[in-house]
């Protein structure tokens, strides 16, 4: 199957997407969701680190961009209904 004219993302774009996803993870007020977002980003990018096929790279990259949009929206929604009691993991030992 010949690769169609989709442009595979450049290395810089991939790293920028990685950084954006990690930054949006920090915006979550819920500890669990924040840690999940970080873990999931790191795992997904490591899994797909060695892809070479341009169409696969493009598919993974657009998937990542879609997830970034979802995460940005969800960070806002979560902050609207933030619980008053912080998770125990967020409380620094004094």
């Amino acid at each position: 199957m010949a690769a169609s004219g989709v442009a595979a993302p450049t290395r810089a774009e991939v790293l920028q997407l990685y950084r954006s996803l990690l930054r949006v993870a920090r915006q979550f007020c819920d500890y669990n969701v924040r840690e999940y977002t970080k873990r999931r980003t790191i795992d997904a990018f490591r899994d797909k680190k060695n892809l070479t096929d341009p169409s696969q790279l493009f598919a993974a990259f657009s998937d990542g961009k879609a997830q970034l949009e979802v995460a940005k929206r969800q960070a806002i929604v979560y902050s609207l209904y933030a619980p008053k009691v912080k998770s125990i993991m967020d409380i620094k030992p004094s």
């Binding site: 290395r11 810089a12 790293l15 920028q16 990685y18 950084r19 990690l22 930054r23 920090r26 790191i42 990018f45 490591r46 680190k49």
Partner: protein, 126 residues
Amino acid sequence: MALRSAVLRYIRVPVQTLTATESKPQPQWSLRASLRLFSSHDVHLTKEEVIDRVLDVVKSFPKVDPSQVTPNVHFQKDLGLDSLDNVEIVMALEEEFKLEIPDKEADKIDACNLAIEYIYNHPMAG
């Protein structure tokens, strides 16, 4: 504001122009971060503190061997990390020092000494 600029104009830094022929040893006097008039942000980190905290962050990264970490170590060449790990380390440094490092600057931070320099020169490092 006017007073500040008036005082700054009064204190002139002697410009050092040493040509090949003359080599007068001039007294070193520079308006460094030690003289910051009307600055509300006077608590600036010492270089020692910056180095210690940066090394701590790098050592606590799970893929790093702590015994290899020195202030000059290069993340990818000496510690065997890849570019994704590089991004993670820069994010961890951002969290430690409560900074927001723009992407273009963050891409350049490849080694411990670059990180230390950047953070030490950042006015908002905390």
